[in-house]
């Protein structure tokens, strides 16, 4: 990270935390904000967050490691989460999983080399009446079939 970027990040963190009077309740929204913008929460950001909220950096890391939507290692710009819970599984999740893996040449749990895409499984998305379902970034896709799923992922930039 360049010095300039670091300074920017520090400013952003301070501005964000000031809306919460630098109270610890700012932690989750703040981490979610950094995650969304940088696709991960780098070490430097963790330390700055800890400094601004006056807590130990390990506390910040502990929170990041607990939640599956927060991560300290870089992930792809687009995160694909395919529901693996039983109802979507019965509706044909495995066929979609295999089709996507073949199409992208990427296994679930991996990130593409160009950092474009990360494939993950997730637990119930609350779409059991219209499965199989997946969520790409913030958008939900339902009633997937292998062809449709691959077409959706082709569109991603």
């Amino acid at each position: 990270m360049l010095v300039l970027e670091k300074n920017n990040l520090t400013e952003e963190i301070e501005l964000f935390a000031s809306q919460y009077d630098f109270h610890r309740t700012a932690l989750m929204p703040l981490l979610e904000y950094i995650q969304e913008k940088y696709h991960h929460i780098p070490d430097f950001a963790q330390q700055e967050v800890a400094r601004v909220l006056d807590i130990h950096p390990v506390e910040v890391y502990g929170v990041i490691s607990f939640y599956s939507f927060l991560n300290d290692q870089p992930k792809g710009r687009n995160i694909v989460r395919l529901c693996r819970t039983i109802i979507c599984d019965m509706a044909g999740k495995c066929q979609i999983e295999q089709a996507i893996e073949r199409e992208l040449g990427l296994k679930f749990g991996e990130t593409s080399k160009d950092q474009k895409i990360t494939l993950e499984f997730t637990n119930c998305l609350g779409m059991c009446d219209q499965g199989p379902a997946m969520i790409v970034n913030d958008r939900v896709y339902t009633k997937l079939d292998p062809e449709k799923a691959c077409a959706i992922l082709k569109e991603i930039k």
């Binding site: 309740t25 979610e32 637990n123 609350g126 009446d129 939900v140």
Partner: protein
């Protein structure tokens, strides 16, 4: 919302019926706080998240608690596999829930409410923020709501980040405070020591949605529905092997057979009631009733037909629990792993009955020794599926192929 989500509501007698936004608040503000609690008590409304704690008692405890700050939290961390009623409620009847929170705030004396929305539902966030702004414009939120001097209340939305255990109320509070979502010991209960140590009520989305209707129609009228111990109606999320999956609002006390007929399920072998942490009901027990006094449920109904392998279903559930256990207490963290290993042994035909019986005992131990509802209920599918489907799992005749 640019999504291909279709909200299918097949039957609705109350919650999705016409409701004029704000009318519940206006009526409630004309009533005294005690009158509201009285109506709630008469309605016999119980928590719709699955645990079934009487809502009037919860609110009464928070109303009676002393403290400068009090909070009301809407638990929209709907993570139980097979449940999607809160999604449909939040998208189709948001004002019902928000009005319920305002009434709750007024009743217990809270000045702030939080909606803890699960990370997977982030696409709803802007929509809900717009709803909140609309309410602020109409003075249904803010200072001196509807001209009621001294009643100030506002709601903010906080996003979860993909942790199932945060649906447990104390874990949810921890998460709101910016901590790992690890459940606390109870007691003290959140009604005394909740968010930031202040008295807090945590209610399910559906519970809050019922409140404005109870205020408008009166508690006794509401209690006419359902059975004596389980009053009112319930949203059921139906999924799996049936013709008409979706949300059904039905009165408590309906039997599983009646439900299956309604949703067009044929050749049904088993019904998992209450999500992954619920119990699996075999065909022979389909005359059991869905009610707090018989089969209690947060609304998740998953239907499996004859072609499904119950061991595969069980494995999926146990993988879910291994992944979602917060890891704080040993019975849950290690117990779920051991149960999953047991299922895999059965799958590979490498089990002994002595070991399986040990695992069943372990399951019983987890039920009493785990710290929160996750570990206390995660052995449920293991115990009920291995018991009720032992013929299929252990006695099935070989198909001639040695596996």
């Amino acid at each position: 919302m640019h999504n291909d989500i279709v909200n299918t509501i097949h039957e609705s007698s109350l919650l999705f019926s016409n409701y004029e936004a704000g009318s519940g608040i206006k009526k409630a503000l004309e009533m005294g706080r005690d009158d509201i609690l009285f109506e709630l008590k008469a309605s016999k409304l119980k928590g719709r998240g699955g645990a079934g704690f009487p809502t009037s008692t919860k609110w009464m405890l928070v109303a009676a608690a002393t403290g400068a700050d009090k909070f009301i939290i809407c638990n929209a961390d709907e993570g139980e596999p097979g449940t999607f009623k809160d999604r449909v409620l939040l998208m189709n009847a948001p004002f019902l829930i928000l009005d319920g929170m305002v009434v709750g705030g007024y009743t217990v004396g809270a000045a702030h409410g939080y909606i803890y929305l699960r990370g997977e539902y982030v696409y709803m966030r802007q929509f809900l923020e717009d709803c909140l702004n609309e309410m602020r414009e109409k003075n249904l939120l803010g200072n001196n709501i509807c001209g009621k001097e001294g009643f100030n209340f506002d709601i903010s939305i906080v996003m979860g980040a993909g942790a199932y255990v945060c649906g447990e109320e104390t874990a949810l509070i921890e998460s709101l405070e910016g901590q790992r979502g690890e459940p606390r010991n109870r007691p003290p209960y959140p009604v005394n020591t909740g968010l930031c140590g202040a008295p807090t009520t945590v209610n399910n989305v559906e519970t809050l949605a019922a409140v404005p209707h109870i205020i408008l129609m009166g508690g006794e009228k509401y209690a006419e529905r359902g059975t004596s111990a389980s009053s009112g109606s319930k949203l059921f999320s139906i999924s799996g092997d049936c013709e008409k999956p979706g949300v059904y609002e039905l009165n408590w006390g309906i039997t599983i057979n009646e439900l299956l007929a309604k949703v067009g399920a044929y050749n049904t072998k088993a019904v998992q009631v209450g999500g992954a942490s619920g119990i699996c009901i075999p065909k022979s027990k389909f005359d059991r009733k869905l009610a707090y006094e018989d089969v209690a449920t947060g609304g998740s109904i998953m239907i499996f037909n004859e072609s499904r392998k119950m061991l595969h279903v069980l494995k999926n559930f146990m993988e879910f629990f291994v992944e979602e256990s917060c890891g704080q207490c040993t019975p849950c963290r290690i117990g779920n792993q051991k149960l999953l290993e047991g299922v895999e042994m059965i799958e590979k035909n490498q089990y002994t009955f002595a070991h399986i019986n040990n695992l069943k005992e372990l399951g019983e131990t987890m039920k009493v020794a785990s710290k929160c509802g996750l570990g206390q209920s995660s052995p449920n599918p293991f115990l009920s599926i291995l018991e009720d489907f032992k013929e299929e799992i252990f006695h099935a005749k070989s198909d001639g192929v040695y596996k």
